[in-house]
């Protein structure tokens, strides 16, 4: 039965999916360069949504997203590359893996399941940690993934680029991935598990006292987040066609966290808004670096190369300084004119 209440509940999801589709349709009318940028932005969206599923709902710092992305990317790559390409680039693979060539969809599923399995294995002890200790533990996880993948030469090619991946991700595939991620994250955050997890975010002790199994709820979100991160890695790998472990290191890890916090880590809308804001800003700054022709004068104004990066960092700092709760401020997007839904929770714990 679909009644008015159900529809109202689904409004944020529909609006966010609409936003993603609008971005895709707009990009479809533009040139190939813009299309590739938007595709990359949508892949980043999948990664940030995966980060939101755990960090947004639990309030626990998490740096491990890029590590799970890397695991997903390499899993899918190894399962979908042609045996001939594997023989060239990875001569030391075990025989069964060297011969395997799955359908891209099966490879993508494996690219989500392998990180999820890893998260399920390493998660239970780490989920006991909170605050800065959790941040350091997940940061350590990310380093371990980076170091192991970067040195396991027979499996990943080590420090060298792994080439010859089938390229099947374009604008529409990435859009599909982004909508899938947003829908999964939304469906999850409507469950009672996610509500229990958000309760523990607001006040861990009170949540425990009312019977929330904090460690178990965090683990559910952690594994689901790892699955989505793996999907982001798969999309990234089969968009570029080459893989380097360096692509899954500190820079993207910081970028994803910055996107989430700038948008507002406490709502799915925030995750989407952060990706949109920073992607658009990056793009505008890149354009000014190439040069903007002033109308009717023939003069091209261009900023010196490198200034765009400076401006981007400065803009992020300013957003955090003036809007520390992020662009969305913990609320979900709603239709204009409606009273605010119950998405806004009062902050219960005062922090210094």
């Amino acid at each position: 039965m679909i009644d008015a209440g159900t529809v109202r509940r689904l409004v944020p999801l529909l609006l966010l999916v609409g936003l993603v589709l609008a971005a895709t349709l707009l990009a479809g009318t533009a040139g190939i360069v813009v299309q590739r940028r938007v595709t990359l932005g949508l892949i980043n969206l999948v990664a940030v949504v995966s980060l939101y599923v755990f960090m947004g709902n639990s309030g626990v710092l998490n740096f491990s997203t890029v590590g799970f992305m890397a695991i997903g990317a390499y899993s899918s790559a190894l399962l979908t590359m042609s045996p001939a390409a594997k023989a060239t680039f990875l001569p030391d693979l075990p025989a069964w893996l060297a011969a395997a060539q799955l359908h891209p969809a099966a490879g993508a599923l494996a690219g989500g399941m392998v990180p999820a399995a890893v998260a399920l294995a390493v998660g239970p002890p780490i989920m006991r940690l909170s605050g800065i200790a959790a941040g350091m533990a997940t940061l350590s996880l990310m380093f371990i993934a980076y170091i192991v993948l970067g040195n396991w030469t027979s499996l990943t090619g080590g420090q060298q680029s792994l080439m010859g991946l089938p390229i099947y991700v374009g604008l529409w595939t990435a859009t599909g991935g982004a909508i899938f991620a947003v829908a999964v994250a939304f469906a999850y955050q409507e469950t009672r598990w996610a509500i229990a997890l958000r309760a523990s975010r607001e006040d861990e002790v009170a949540a425990r006292a009312t019977g929330v199994g904090v460690v178990r709820q965090r683990l559910v979100a952690f594994v689901l987040g790892a699955f989505l991160a793996g999907i982001a890695g798969v999309l990234f790998a089969h968009f570029l066609g080459t893989l380097r472990v360096e692509s899954f290191y500190l820079d993207p890890a910081f970028l994803f966290i910055a996107m989430l916090v700038v948008g507002g880590a406490r709502s799915l809308t925030g995750a989407v808004a952060g990706v949109a804001a920073i992607s658009v800003l990056t793009e505008l700054l890149r354009l000014t670096e190439i040069g903007v022709p002033l109308p009717a004068t023939g003069i091209v104004v261009a900023t010196p190369p490198g200034l765009g990066d400076v401006a981007l960092a400065a803009a992020m700092l300013l957003i955090i300084l003036f809007r520390p709760q992020g662009i969305a401020g913990g609320r979900e997007i709603a239709l204009p004119g409606r009273p605010k839904a119950a998405g806004r929770l009062p902050r219960t714990r005062s922090s210094r």
Partner: protein, 295 residues
Amino acid sequence: MTANAIQILVDALSVGGLYALTSLGIGLIFSVMRLANFAHAEFVTVPAYVMFALSGHPALMSIGAAVLTAVALALAVERIAFRPLRRVDPAAMLVASFAVSMLLQKLLVFAVGSRIVPLDPLPMLGEAIRFGGVQVSALKLVTILACVVLLAALTWFLRRTRFGLEMRAAAENFTMSRLLGVRANRVIAIAFALSGVLAAVVAVLFSAQTGFVQPRLGVQLVIVGFVATVIGGLGSLFGAAVGGLAVGAAATLLQAFLPPELRPFREAFLFAAVILVLLVRPQGLFPARGLKERV
């Protein structure tokens, strides 16, 4: 064999000493304002570039300029970026410190380029010293000596001066110390200034060991420093120093004693050990008093 053992010991102590100074710089700020300051990396990198700009001048002058720059930078960052966020949640402060770190790093890339430039701030220490049959690098000995002196000076400052007392009080209970007359802005500014001094010393010693500067010089160092601070017990300065020493020593020992085929994975073992320590003692080896949340 003994010669080899002494070499390894000197290596372990000099690496561990640098990490200890880094983690102390991070720990000082964390203990008073609960900020995990990623921008500490640039407190190291920027003075290293100042020394590069002044290379050719007397070593003492460039080192002095480096220390002054680091202190000024630390104070400015505190005033501009962190003071407005003091009352907001720690995650926002953490991300603000990323943003500051990125901003400074990109400014460096913009101003001087991202390529590696050579730097030797302490050319007189290039020689090795011989004790009997043992050869030890003078630079490493000086590093160890500098770390010991700085640790002693810092201990004296914290235990014997008024500002040190205020800092320890603020670390234990910030609100209470304010009620008793400690000025919040002053005590935080002192923490940042001290952190800047430590970072500048690390810049001198670390760039002398590596022989170059690049815009990401401080990043790897600070990440290890962070890990060390957490292992030692966030908020505890003694813990930070011990943690830094332990991580540096563990890295050196793993490098020396792991079988060669596992050596590339050395740091993976290190970080796995970090997770293990955190699981057994989430508050670190030497938990700070007053950090545990009361209910």
